[in-house]
C-alpha cells in the first residue's frame, strides 16, 4: 500500500489562512500548494464514479475552475476541502448521468450551487467524503477489508488496483456472472460501512 499518495490528511495543513490570502492576492505558488494537496483526493473521488480518465480529468478541471470563480466567497480555509469535494462529486455524478444519453448539452450549471455550497460547507468536517479521504481513514479502511471474507476482500482489491476494468472484466476475475457484480459490490460496501461503524462504537 502506498500511503505516499495520500495528501489529504490533517497532518498536512496546507490550506491555511495565509495560503488562501495569498491565492486571493494572485500568488500562483499558493494556488499550486492547494492543487498539490487536493488533486490526488479529487482525482480518486471522481474516478470512483466509474469515469474514464478523460472524463475524470474534465471533472477535476471543472472543479478547479469553479473554485477560481467562487474563491472570494469561500475565504475560510477550512471550507475549501469540503467545498472542493462537494463540487467534484457533483461534476462526476453529472458526467456519469450523461453517459446514458450522449448528446450535445450543456450541463445544468450551478443554479444556486456556487452560492449555497460555501454556506453548507460551514460544518467543517461534517462531510464524510472528506473525512474518509485522509491517510488515517484509508489505513483503517484497508485494515477492515483485510478482515473481510470473500468475495468482498478480492472484490475491493481488484476494484482498487484495476481502476479501468469494466464490470464484465471484474466479474470474470472474481468468477461471478456480470449481473451479480453490482449487487455484490453493494453488499460488500454496506458490510464495510457496518464494520467501520462498529469500530467507531468500540474504539
Amino acid at each position: 500500500m502506498n500511503t505516499q499518495s495520500v495528501l489529504c490528511g490533517s497532518e498536512v495543513p496546507v490550506s491555511d489562512q495565509p495560503t488562501i490570502e495569498a491565492v486571493l492576492a494572485g500568488d500562483q505558488a499558493a494556488w499550486d500548494a492547494l492543487v498539490t494537496r487536493f488533486t490526488g483526493p479529487l482525482w480518486s473521488a471522481v474516478r470512483a464514479y466509474d469515469l474514464s480518465p478523460a472524463d475524470a480529468a474534465d471533472a477535476v478541471q471543472g472543479t478547479w475552475l469553479r473554485l477560481l470563480e467562487s474563491l472570494h466567497t469561500i475565504r475560510d480555509p477550512d471550507r475549501i476541502g469540503p467545498w472542493l469535494f462537494t463540487t467534484a462529486k457533483r461534476e462526476a455524478s453529472l458526467l456519469r448521468r450523461r453517459h446514458r444519453g450522449e448528446r450535445l448539452v450543456a450541463d445544468p450549471v450551478d443554479t444556486g450551487h456556487a452560492r449555497s455550497t460555501p454556506a453548507d460547507a460551514g460544518h467543517v468536517h461534517a462531510d464524510p467524503a472528506l473525512a474518509v479521504l485522509t491517510a488515517d481513514e484509508s489505513r483503517r479502511l484497508w485494515q477492515a477489508v483485510d478482515e473481510m471474507h470473500e468475495p468482498c476482500r478480492s472484490l475491493f482489491r481488484l476494484m482498487a488496483t484495476a481502476p479501468d476494468a469494466g464490470v464484465h472484466q471484474l466479474a470474470g476475475r472474481l468468477g461471478m456472472p456480470s449481473g451479480s457484480y453490482g449487487p455484490t459490490r453493494g453488499r460488500c460496501l454496506n458490510r464495510l460501512r457496518t464494520m467501520l461503524t462498529t469500530r467507531e462504537a468500540t474504539p
Binding site: M1, N2, Q4, S5, V6, C8, G26, Q28, W31, D32, V35, T39, G40, P41, S44, A45, R47, A48, Y49, P53, A57, D58, V60, Q61, G62, L65, R66, L68, E69, R98, E102, L104, V105, D107, V109, T111, A114, H125, A126, P128, A129, A131, V132, L133, T134, A135, S138, R139, L141, W142, F156, R157, M159, A160, T161, P163, G186, L189, R193, E200
Partner: protein, 154 residues
Amino acid sequence: MTRHPTTIDDESLIAALRLASGSDPVPAQVTAAARAVFGLRLPGATTARSVVTPVPQGVRSAEGPRLLKFVAAELTVELEVTSLDGLVDLAGQISPCPEAGTLVEIRTPHLTESRALSPTGRFAVTGLPPGWFSVVCHRPEDLPVVTSWTRIRP
C-alpha cells in the same frame, strides 16, 4: 477530525480505497491543468450565473441548438450552442446592448477568442473544442462581467 462513517456514500468509500492503494495516480496533465487554471482568474469581475431556460416542449433530440442564459446584476448573456464535427459553435447576445468599444472574449482552458460586438450586441465564434468555456464581456467604463464556467460536450 470528526468521523461519520455511517453516512459515507459508496463513491467516497471507493475513492478512499483507491487513494490508499496508490494504484490510480493522478496523470501529470491533470495536475498541470489544475495549476494552469489559475491563469484564467479575472480579479474584480462580476460572475453572470446560469439561469434555467425552458426547453421547448416535445423536444427530445439534440438536433436543435441549445440555449443558455447567464444573468448578472447589470447584464444578461444569452448563448445558442450548436455542434458540428465534434466542435462547438456559439452565437451570443448581450443585453442590454453595451456601449461601443465593448469586447467579448470566449475562453476555454486552452484558447481565447476575441470578438467585437455588433451594434445590436451580438457575437459569434465557431469551432471551439468541446469542454469548459466561459464568456467575458470587457466594457470600456466598467469591470468585466464573466459567465460561470460551463461544460459542453458534443
